[in-house]
């Protein structure tokens, strides 16, 4: 560890949070249907989309209609994407002549991209046609991200509403968020990536002649455009198997910096936009503070664990000051640390190092960040609604302590909202621990493991945490392209996305119908250090209580096993 490393971590985090402010202000205008500086170009396109799809923007929807629209859109997306992947051999832009994906892989991948997870059980450059990449996967990088942000926008409007049933219109939100936020910012970032050396071409590959006289086929894709929305939409699915450790996806430290910032900035910006719409800017600042504290803490732990000598190398009496296994020498340990914290806190899932090769505690922190529910700062939209759910639980706990009906942002929090909140948060342990428990004893699942013992359990636990949290990063070491893993991880992704978002929309409907109250002397302040501490405690207790026993059997045991090996060697 050194000052330069710490400076890189702090600077990256500070720039991300600073950029979130103007972006959040702009985002709030988009969520509320207000005019923006892009109107002259985009308003005619927006009207055309509404006309073509029969959307009446002024009408609005109840929470049930909003949830059903969200589901209807996702069902249609799932079926169309399944068919594109399955029959890519019959579709254009397949210069490599790739066959269609298997049924179970098509199922897994379609769900993965519809739920904004982007888990990849395959090697993209060896299996996915250009058409599948662009029309199938990249388009869903935009649409699934927009759908997540739409739910957050509905929740924000619900807290701002006063005795209303109207949450806004899902189709309007989907259109406006795609057109006004994701498309223009992705375009600018993609152009920057092209300037910085990322390929953007429809060519299948180039052939290089090596110094030894051999031939090497180097895969090419429209990488820059995919990379931009991959990070901005917290999708994370790479065009290459090595993801952002591949020099085409992440050629240099500047692209590396832009990728880290862009994978978190919209998560923080959603909280800023929420605060402006609900007229609770200071409360939103508290949410941003909680998010940033978790990311910094996780980055600090990973930086500390990865800049110690690797125990296995110490045991072998090898010279080792930094654990560089699985890391890019172009980026080093501090960049790996802040990336790992950002990508696992954000449900992004893109990686610039292999998480399987982190030290046990570093890998454990990555897993724990996902298990917190992808709320710090979380996926685009989903991070905001996730942390608001935990904020409701936090004020409920505070209310129990002092014997008052809790309030949050001018809305009374009653038993119905807490029941919805608990239904949402309990889906995480149900899916992660349930599936992991079954997979840990089923021979058909264990066949996919590369490692026995504690590390093997970590691989299982990480896979289901990543799928349920809609993160998508892999711990590696797990051969997941089998019917068991493809099917169960697909179901886990669906549970993590919809069994969480639906109760959130129910909370939104319930909150919108309530009167907006002013703060009184008895109102618990939700904008100061006391609330920040309480919310951090609730998040840690929810994550810690639910997952600590499983983590104790995985990364924590592995940590002590590594220490034991070092002690025995000495």
């Amino acid at each position: 560890m050194n000052g330069q490393g710490w400076a890189e971590i702090v600077l990256t985090l500070a720039v991300t949070v600073a950029l979130a402010w103007p972006l959040g202000i702009y985002m709030a205008r988009v969520w509320q249907g207000q005019s923006t500086w892009l109107d002259p170009v985009l308003r005619p396109i927006e009207r055309l989309v509404y006309g073509a799809c029969g959307v009446e923007p002024e009408k609005g929807q109840s929470w049930i209609a909003y949830a059903m629209s969200f589901l209807a859109f996702s069902i249609a997306s799932f079926v169309v994407l399944y068919l594109i992947l399955r029959f890519q051999n019959l579709l254009p832009l397949n210069p490599q002549g790739f066959a269609g994906l298997s049924p179970d892989l098509s199922f897994n991948t379609a769900i993965s991209f519809v739920t904004n997870t982007n888990w990849q059980s395959y090697v993209p450059e060896q299996i996915m046609s250009t058409f599948s990449q662009m029309a199938g996967l990249t388009s869903h990088n935009f649409l699934s991200a927009a759908a997540g942000i739409a739910v957050a926008a509905a929740l924000a409007r619900a807290f701002a509403a006063n005795r209303s049933e109207n949450l806004g219109d899902f189709w309007v939100d989907l259109t406006r968020i795609s057109l006004y936020i994701l498309l223009p910012f992705s375009l600018v970032i993609a152009l920057a990536y092209v300037a910085l050396g990322e390929p953007q071409t429809l060519l299948a590959h180039v052939t290089a002649h090596t110094l030894e006289g051999g031939k090497q086929t180097i895969a090419l894709f429209p990488t820059a455009s995919q990379e931009a929305i991959k990070q901005l939409g917290t999708n994370g699915g790479g065009i290459f198997n090595a993801n952002s450790a591949h020099p085409f996806e992440n050629p240099n430290p500047i692209t590396n910096f832009i990728e880290i910032v862009s994978m978190n900035v919209l998560g923080y910006a959603c909280a800023v936009a929420f605060g402006r719409i609900v007229l609770a800017k200071r409360d939103a600042r508290a949410l941003v503070a909680v998010m940033a504290i978790f990311v910094f803490a996780a980055a600090a732990v990973v930086y500390a664990t990865e800049t110690r000598p690797a125990p296995a190398l110490v045991a072998a009496h090898a010279d080792s000051s930094v654990n560089m296994e699985g890391k890019e020498v172009r980026f080093g340990a501090p960049s790996t640390a802040i990336w790992t914290a950002a990508t696992t806190g954000a449900s992004d899932g893109g990686v610039n190092a292999m998480h399987d090769s982190l030290m046990p505690l570093g890998g454990g922190v990555a897993m724990f960040m996902i298990q917190l529910g992808e709320i710090v700062p979380g996926g685009v939209g989903s991070g905001l609604y996730g942390i608001v759910v935990l904020a409701l639980i936090a004020v409920f706990v505070a209310g129990l302590m002092v014997g008052r009906t809790p309030e949050y942002l001018g809305k009374k929090v009653e038993s119905r909202e807490i029941k919805y909140a608990m239904l949402a948060v309990l889906i995480l342990p149900l899916s992660i621990l349930g599936f992991s428990g079954v997979a840990a004893v089923l021979p058909v699942a264990l066949k996919g493991l590369a490692n026995p013992g504690a590390h093997g359990l970590s691989e299982i636990l990480y896979a289901y945490s990543s799928a349920t949290g809609n993160n998508g990063s892999a711990f590696a070491g797990l051969s997941a392209n089998t019917p068991w893993w493809n099917a169960t991880l697909g179901i886990a992704m669906l549970l993590g996305r919809f069994a969480y978002a639906i109760p959130v929309l129910a909370i939104a409907g319930s909150m919108a119908a309530k009167p907006k109250l002013g703060a009184t002397a008895g109102t618990f302040p939700t904008d100061g250090p006391l609330f920040i501490g309480l919310l951090i405690g609730v998040i840690l207790i929810m994550g810690g209580l639910q997952f600590f026993p499983a983590l104790a059997l995985g990364p924590i045991v592995e940590h002590f096993q590594a220490l034991h090996a070092v002690a025995a060697a000495r």
Binding site: L71, V79, G100, P103, R416, L494, F498, I502, P503, A506
Partner: protein
């Protein structure tokens, strides 16, 4: 296309749609709380 469509495709597509159907029922179930 018909010759390439496998029975497993029907199972996976209908299985996926059925899960979404369960979520739709869940939406209506939450109204009762």
């Amino acid at each position: 296309l018909r010759t390439e469509l496998h029975m497993l495709d029907i199972i996976y597509i209908l299985g996926g749609v059925a899960i979404f159907g369960v979520f739709a029922v869940y939406v209506h179930g939450l109204r009762r709380i």
